[in-house]
């Protein structure tokens, strides 16, 4: 308990029941609901009132419970997601979110439904615009919102429900089916890692690096160890196994040893009786750093005298694609366009922050409940860092609130495991949003310099490109991501001559990793820009030049893979054009589509 906070008695109504409790005066409504009442259906996504995952109703008004002091709702009526269904009968919103496909990872769902409930209580038949305004404070990273808006329209009787197959006829494939996990997600029953509570459970918090690049000269934990509530403070010296992990290459320390390579590096781990006690002890750890010059872009990293992040070169991978004769292609080309395309790092922004709970049994077996994309790879990496046999480590995926590639990597799993093995008690490690954004992987920032040539009819002849990717401090999946980018730079088109070089370069930025699209998002930006530029130069319609060059059975990809079946690019092009022809957007007042 914080020494300056008083214990006060508060009374309020929660889901129709009177509640009277002695609480810490600085508690938020969300902390009270989740921690004290065990109502874990309400989620914490950002702790800043920005994402809406924590939305509940207070006197029928939707509010962000993560920033609302509990004392502000004394004597008021609070309704959470658990209070919506009555006698097993789902609220119309819960049913519509399920049936319309408005639920994917489910982490935003309770807050989204409560925001919608608040809207419908004040306005039972909102227009689409009013629905969108009513939900504008709630972020969903999975659905694109369309089915959520639709669900609110259905729940308010303004749209007819999607036809969902309830019982199989002869074929169950190819019909729209409501997901079986949706009812638990719409009622707050679904258990995410942070919803777990165990007797004696401790909380781990990592001290993050003070520098982007520095040698570690010494770490003194004695003051932190004496801090109230602290059970243990761990450093690299406490890592029993190989203190390196990574999806592709094991180059990332669980706790920094010789040096720190980015601002997100974990330097020490405090394990304490409460999250607050763990956070409070972080500033008591004394780390002596010797600052090193850093590199902060791929171009900088490749300079001859650049400081090295690992070993004696920053070049992690150089991939060469060589198909046909590029020089001949450009000699023959009637038109060549070129461009330099730049992208920035992107956050996965899964609504559920990374979280794991780890616990050991008497025999030394370790169980880790976690938010992850791949339990078996987590197991391999945990076992190696903790020097445990793989089969004594059990990793269980909890309901996971989005991943998008970011939970490919180990996040909280090894830290929680280190804490549990050290203390013999269950340990939860959960990133807050700022920590998540500092320590997690990103979509790679890249620079693509490319030129594309075609003959007068618009038949593509050659593609030449250099790609420089900011790998960040650790490999993660970066070599594979950037290789895939290079292998996909010719897009869905037949290009007979290709010369592409991709360079994945270590820097002292946060590590680039897997993210939905895995390099091909960046490739697409380049090849689709170039083909439009080429169409303009040749006076061709952008649709026409794409259709003309689209892959088809018998043609080869950028890697020379001759495709034989399931090459639907031309069909997709025809479908979108037919749809646009049949359903033109109403013309705006000022100008029409295509007007310059």
């Amino acid at each position: 308990m914080c020494p300056t906070c008083k214990q006060v008695e508060v009374s309020l109504t929660v889901n129709g029941r009177p509640v009277r409790e002695l609480v810490r005066s600085d508690l938020t409504l969300l902390q009270f609901l989740r921690g004290q009442l065990g109502l874990t259906g309400t989620k914490e996504g950002c702790r800043q009132g920005e994402c809406g995952a924590c939305t509940v109703l207070v006197d029928a008004e939707p509010v962000n419970s993560c920033i609302l002091p509990l004392l502000a709702v004394a004597d008021r009526e609070v309704v959470t997601i658990e209070g919506l269904a009555h006698d097993q009968e789902l609220d119309a919103l819960q049913k519509a979110f399920t049936d319309e496909g408005g639920v994917q990872c489910g982490f935003c769902t309770p807050g989204m439904i409560m925001a919608a409930k608040g809207l419908l209580l004040s306005n039972p038949t909102p227009s689409e615009e009013e629905i969108r305004e009513g939900l504008s404070g709630n972020i969903c990273r999975c659905t694109g919102y369309q089915k959520i808006v639709r669900a609110v329209q259905v729940a308010s009787g303004q749209a007819s429900p999607v036809e969902v197959v309830a019982r199989a006829d002869h074929s169950v494939i190819g019909h729209k089916v409501a997901r079986r996990d949706a009812p638990d997600k719409t009622t707050g029953r679904a258990l995410y890692a942070d919803d777990l509570r165990m007797p004696g459970m401790l909380f781990g918090k990592a001290l993050r690096s003070a520098h982007a690049h520095a040698l570690i000269r010494g770490i003194d934990c004695t003051r932190a160890e004496r801090s109230p509530g602290v059970v243990a403070v761990l450093t690299a010296a406490d890592v029993a196994g190989h203190n390196r992990y990574g999806v592709a290459i094991s180059d990332q320390p669980a706790l920094a040893d010789d040096k720190v390579r980015c601002s997100g590096d974990a330097v020490a781990l405090v394990v304490a009786e409460s999250e607050k006690a763990a956070v409070g002890a972080l500033s008591l750890i004394e780390v002596e750093y010797q600052k090193l010059p850093g590199v902060f872009s791929a171009e900088e990293g490749l300079r001859p005298n650049a400081p090295c992040v690992h070993g004696d070169t920053n070049l992690l991978q150089h991939t060469k694609v060589r198909k046909g004769d590029i020089d001949a292609a450009f000699l023959e080309a009637a038109e060549v366009v070129e461009g330099t395309f730049r992208t920035v790092p992107i956050e996965h922004a899964y609504l559920e922050p990374e979280c794991s709970v780890a616990a050991t049994d008497h025999a030394g077996n370790l169980t880790v409940w976690t938010s992850t994309q791949y339990v078996f790879r987590d197991r391999r990496q945990i076992a190696s860092v903790l020097a445990l046999p793989a089969n004594s480590v059990r990793v269980i995926q909890m309901v996971t609130g989005g991943g998008f590639g970011g939970k490919d990597d180990v996040t909280t799993e090894i830290l929680a495991s280190l804490g549990a093995v050290r203390t013999g008690l269950p340990v939860k490690v959960r990133f807050d949003r700022a920590e998540s954004m500092r320590a997690s992987t990103k979509r790679h920032a890249v620079v693509i310099k490319a030129r594309l040539g075609a003959d007068r009819e618009g038949n593509l002849l050659g593609l030449e490109a250099q790609v420089f990717a900011d790998k960040g401090a650790y490999a993660s999946l970066g070599g594979y991501v950037i290789k895939k980018l290079g292998l996909h730079l010719s897009g869905p088109y037949y290009v007979p001559n290709i010369k592409v070089d991709t360079y994945a370069v270590y820097t002292n930025n946060p590590p680039g990793g897997a993210m939905r699209g895995f390099g091909v998002v960046q490739a697409g930006f380049a090849h689709e820009s170039l083909i439009d530029m080429l169409a303009e130069r040749l006076g061709l319609d952008p649709w026409e030049i794409r259709y003309r060059n689209a892959l088809a059975p018998g043609l080869s990809t950028g890697t020379g893979h001759v495709l034989h079946a399931s090459v639907g690019i031309k069909a997709t092009l025809s479908e979108v054009r037919d749809y646009l022809d049949a359903n033109p957007l109403p013309l705006s007042d000022q100008t029409g589509p295509g007007a310059r």
């Binding site: 190819g174 991943g403 895939k484 001759v562 310059r596």
Partner: protein, 330 residues
């Protein structure tokens, strides 16, 4: 002035890890005395809906209702390894693994049913839990067959393994049959550019995706819509700004994400050019949904106001700067 434009974005995306990286999935399946099925598979559902997909595959293969299938996933002590939920691979790889396990159990049940009916197995099939002979319903049900099978010592359980590890490509040229299968898509963005503020409003996205075969079209639409929203963020909004390695935007107050106000109507068109090696022809859709959106928007901006954005995101500042450089600022 507000000007409208239309832009195309197309893509090819290879499924699976490719070029020699290990890529396989396994699943086990058991049918109980009452005809209900338990599937164990390491496939992690991270929100995309793979668990429902696996249940549908098992139900389809066995000729029972999906409500009679329960799927337990992603537990290293209980479920077989299905590889990572990444590379748009789970429908294809784990879907195939579950289908193979179901096929083994089905073949064994068909044999038992043939004994019970006293007919050749070739004419027997299951549909909606009922045993058919030459397409006609018999008095026999799948639970009766499962019960007979177990009570005669023939356990109705099997493991399915599907391996799509491809040969490696040539290291010097990267030429070779790099991947197991490929997905394709075309998207069109219609945008409105405000030449005074530089703001780009996306009016509509039409997205056609070749998914091979849609196991659950509701889920496929959900993937397309969510992928498009992420693509809109990539094109116009999102930027993790760094200074000397430190995030300058470490919260959702500073790192902006698409809200319901930023995402326009999305028209999903499912194209089914079946992949012969996919489960029922299915490929995948998760990652492809995001890929064409940003270029379609960028090309639509060019169509609207004649500027070419070569750096993402196309924020109002970037658009205004390019308009100014082009000398068309009104």
């Amino acid at each position: 002035m507000k000007k409208r434009g239309v832009g195309y974005g197309c893509m090819m995306y290879a499924m699976g890890y490719g070029f020699g990286r290990p890529d396989s999935a396994s699943a086990s399946l058991e049918i109980a005395d009452d005809g209900t099925v338990t599937v164990l598979c390491g496939c992690a559902d991270i929100g995309q809906g793979s668990t429902e997909m696996l249940a549908l595959v098992a139900a389809e293969e066995l000729g029972i209702g999906p409500q009679d299938v329960r799927v337990l996933t992603a537990d290293t002590l209980m479920t077989p390894d299905a590889g990572c939920t990444s590379a748009t691979r789970q429908t294809y790889v784990s879907g195939n693994a579950v289908r193979k396990a179901a096929r083994i159990v089905l073949d064994s049940l068909l044999e038992v049913a043939s004994e019970m009916l006293g007919v050749e197995p070739a004419g027997i099939s299951f549909a909606n839990g009922v045993v058919l002979h030459n397409g006609e319903a018999t008095d026999l049900t799948v639970p009766m067959v499962a019960n007979r099978s177990r009570s005669t010592g023939r356990q109705c359980t099997a493991m399915g393994l599907f391996n799509i590890t491809t040969p490696d490509v040539d290291p010097e040229t990267n030429q070779g049959d790099a991947y197991a299968a490929y997905t394709f898509a075309s998207q069109v963005a219609e945008v409105e550019v405000d030449t005074e503020t530089g703001e780009v409003k996306v009016l509509r996205i039409v997205a056609a995706h070749d998914v091979g075969r849609a196991i659950n079209p509701l889920g496929v639409e959900g993937q397309i819509e969510g992928g498009v929203a992420m693509g809109i963020g990539y094109a116009l909004i999102e930027n993790l700004q760094l200074e000397e390695g430190w995030p300058l935007t470490p919260s959702f107050a500073e790192y902006l994400l698409p809200t319901v106000m930023d995402v326009p109507p999305i028209v999903s068109i499912i194209v089914e050019d079946e992949e012969p090696t996919g489960p029922y022809g299915a490929k995948g859709v998760g990652e492809p949904a995001t890929i064409p959106t940003a270029p379609a928007i960028i090309n639509a901006i060019h169509d609207a106001v004649g500027i070419r954005v070569n750096e993402l995101p196309a924020t109002p500042e970037v658009v205004l700067r390019l308009l100014r450089e082009k000398g068309t600022l009104l």
